[in-house]
């Protein structure tokens, strides 16, 4: 049985398909999950799931929460893992407590990866200011971000709660979100990079370069937390190679500099003779 997914990352769509499959008694091994976007026009493969028998489906709350996250994973295997868990949960009611079960472990790993991506989106989105819109007194901002997973929908609320007093759009290849003070709109349409510039980035770069302590170089640590794949959209990142390259010389120069005599005001304040 082939199931074609229209809206990646949409929990409801997965749930509807999974309900049909389960009520028709179709085993997880017999299901193939496909992405409409990846299929092009060649749609011959889609099967209609067998007409559903009205059954009520009960699952542990923890599964619903987990599924909402896992379904955002970029690997289509997430859909299959979730269906397999759902199938097994019908008999193994405590399955989710077996924290070492391979399917449970896999689902948790996927959830972790999605969670991390969402966290990185909150961290690394960089808004650029757009010119004011006539007749509108709210400031306008736009950000371009490239997430690994289909997380725009689940992360948009964070930006709404945080940036209430400005209009903003976050555009990504996996959909976009926007806020105008009244409504939060999320779309699954892939967007293109608008390549904007914002003068304030220059001040941020100044800050980034100066808050760095060259005597404590720990490049590996930086890269695990801020992997290179994010760098191209971070205005500060292209400073990094030079900061690293120059660090040792700066420390050496600091050490080599001869001691100086204190400035005059020092003697004045402490009432000592200079």
């Amino acid at each position: 049985m082939r199931i074609v997914i229209d809206r990646r990352g949409d929990f409801e769509e997965w749930r509807d398909s999974a309900r049909h499959l389960l009520s028709a008694g179709i085993r997880p091994e017999a299901v193939e999950w496909l992405d409409r976007g990846g299929l092009g026009d060649d749609l011959f493969g889609a099967d209609d799931a067998a007409p559903s028998v009205k059954t009520t489906l009960t699952v542990p709350r923890a599964f619903v929460d987990l599924a909402h996250i896992v379904v955002c994973h970029a690997d289509l295997a997430a859909y299959a893992v979730l269906y397999r868990l759902l199938w097994r949960l019908q008999i193994e009611r405590h399955l989710l407590s077996i924290t070492t079960d391979p399917d449970v472990v896999r689902a948790h790993q996927m959830a972790k990866s999605v969670g991390r991506d969402s966290h990185k989106m909150k961290a690394f989105v960089r808004f650029k200011e757009l010119p004011a819109v006539e007749g509108r007194n709210r400031r306008q901002f736009l950000a371009w971000f490239e997430p690994d997973h289909y997380i725009v929908g689940r992360t948009a609320g964070f930006f709404q709660r945080r940036f209430a007093d400005m209009d903003w759009v976050i555009a990504t290849p996996k959909g976009s979100a926007s806020w105008d003070g009244d409504a939060l709109t999320v779309s699954a349409q892939p967007a293109c990079n608008p390549e904007l510039v914002d003068d304030t980035d220059d001040l941020w770069r100044t800050y980034f370069a100066n808050i760095f302590n060259p005597a404590r170089l720990k490049v590996k640590m930086m890269q695990t937390e801020m992997p290179k794949k994010y760098w191209k959209n971070l205005p500060e990142a292209d400073l990094i190679p030079d900061l690293i390259a120059g660090a040792e010389d700066r420390v050496r120069a600091m050490a080599a500099k001869p001691a100086t005599t204190a400035p005059k005001f020092h003697y004045r304040i402490h009432k000592i003779k200079g």
Binding site: H94, S97, I98, T99, T100, H119, A123, V125, R126, F127, K128, R139, F141, A143, F158, R161, R162, F163, A164, D165, M166, G181, T200, D202, L203, W204, T206, Y207, F208, A209, N210, I211, F212, N213, P214, A215, R216, L217, K218, V219, K220, M221, M222, E225, M226, L234, I240, L243, I244, V251, M254, A255, K257, A259, A262, P263, F265, H266, I269, H270
Partner: protein, 410 residues
């Protein structure tokens, strides 16, 4: 000629980088959806960037000014240093905070300052920044203020209404150290400030009789910082000081800052590479104390000189020194003992406790939880696994030592 904003930002962020803290977590949950303002805090902090020193950049960490009438030997801003001086106006700090925040560079502001004119004069300006951010600009992001030594109680109280966190640095682990290196500061006064702040925080936590609501007052608590390696204090003494600070003043965090060379440094201080590994081990030990049920004495017991082993993490070092407490049966042992197994984190222990209600756990189960079997196998019993006299081996320590670094030709 007045220095440009950019130039002053360079000076005043450079001057702020020796403060280790950049945390923006642990405050109340707030957002702007109802107020229509700007900013939120949702529990866990966010690092918006990392500098090549591996440190998280979460806040705009700057000084209001790096002019200072004190002469603390370890500090780049001390009065006897020839560093270039600069100063922001209150409005400039507010502007930078808001514009940086809008572009999602930061979670908020960490403001500290050299002391100009008097403690109160300086503290007053800092309080004004926090107050205006909150009241004039409806800013809900994170604010951390470093309180100025000897500022008046009234100003500290006002700061606490607007800031998420207040901190005052203990600077050095012993009183003698503070007196030697920070001649204008007084350890007793620093402790008194911490104590007074603790009392006010406790008071605010009590719901008032009338409104049954708690007052918002420094919701993320207070923290402090100690410089490591500027004097000869050993790790046991340092950790003992931390334990007293956590216990006596309920500090949320004690930060350890490896003494780092500064431009135009004082001749009284060692010109050393910052002891980064030592700093790391202290953080690990601090963590064991706060979250793993270890006593400071247990952690520092291993060596006569009171120093932590630089080569092994403190938990592993403790286990090797206390082999009679092992092996631990993962299907039976209580949570406290599981937490003491080198290689098990809190999360792993929780997973083990849940899973073993339903089945007996084998080594494969641990492997799936991404536990390093190599590290734990000597210390545990699992279904189908007993360590083969591993604990008796005299070379057990050697098995965990880091391998000698590969040398390469330049």
């Amino acid at each position: 000629m007045k220095k440009s904003l950019k130039h002053r930002l360079a000076i005043l962020s450079d001057a702020a980088k020796y403060d280790a803290s950049c945390a923006s977590s642990g405050t109340t949950k707030r957002d702007s959806s109802r107020s229509g303002g700007l900013g939120s805090t949702e529990g866990s902090g966010i690092c918006h960037a990392y500098a090549p020193d591996g440190r998280c950049i979460s806040l705009l960490k700057i000084l209001l000014t790096n002019f200072c009438i004190y002469d603390c030997a370890y500090c780049i801003n001390r009065s006897s240093s020839n560093v270039e001086r600069a100063r922001f106006s209150v409005e400039e700090v507010i502007w930078l905070t808001l514009e940086f925040y809008r572009r999602n560079y930061i979670e908020g502001l960490f403001l500290s300052s050299g002391i100009i004119r008097s403690s109160d004069y300086t503290m007053e300006e800092m309080v004004r920044i926090a107050r205006d951010l909150r009241l004039k600009h409806n800013f809900q992001g994170y604010i951390h203020l470093k309180t100025i030594p000897d500022a008046s109680a009234k100003l500290i109280e006002e700061a606490g209404l607007f800031a998420d966190r207040l901190s005052i640095n203990i600077e050095l682990p012993t009183d003698a150290g503070v007196e030697a290196f920070a001649p204008q500061k007084h350890p007793a006064n620093i402790r008194r400030s911490m104590g007074e702040l603790k009392l006010k925080i406790d008071e605010a936590r009590e719901p008032t009789l009338k409104t049954k609501r708690r007052k918002r007052f420094v919701p993320a608590g207070q923290s402090t910082q100690m410089i490591i390696g500027a004097d000869a204090t050993n790790d046991a003494t340092i950790l003992g000081t931390s334990a007293r600070l956590y216990g006596g003043y309920q500090l949320r965090r004690v930060y350890y800052s490896a003494f780092s060379p500064i431009p135009d440094s004082s001749q009284h201080l060692p010109l050393i590479k910052p002891p980064l590994m030592r700093e790391h081990r202290l953080y690990q030990a601090d963590w064991l104390y706060r979250f793993y049920g270890f006593d400071i004495a247990e952690i520092t017991h291993g060596r006569a000189d009171g120093m932590l082993d630089l080569e092994l993490d403190p938990k592993l070092a403790w286990a090797l020194a206390n082999r009679d407490r092992f092996p631990v049966d993962i299907n039976r042992a209580d949570k406290e003992m599981l937490l003491r197994v080198p290689g098990f984190g809190v999360k792993t222990v929780m997973s083990i406790l849940t899973a073993r209600r339903h089945k007996r756990l084998k080594m494969e189960d641990l492997a799936r939880l991404k536990v390093s079997l190599k590290k734990v196998k000597a210390f545990i019993v699992a279904d189908g696994h007993t360590p083969m006299n591993l604990l008796d081996r005299s070379d057990l320590k050697a098995m965990f030592m880091p391998r000698p670094e590969q040398l390469s030709l330049l």
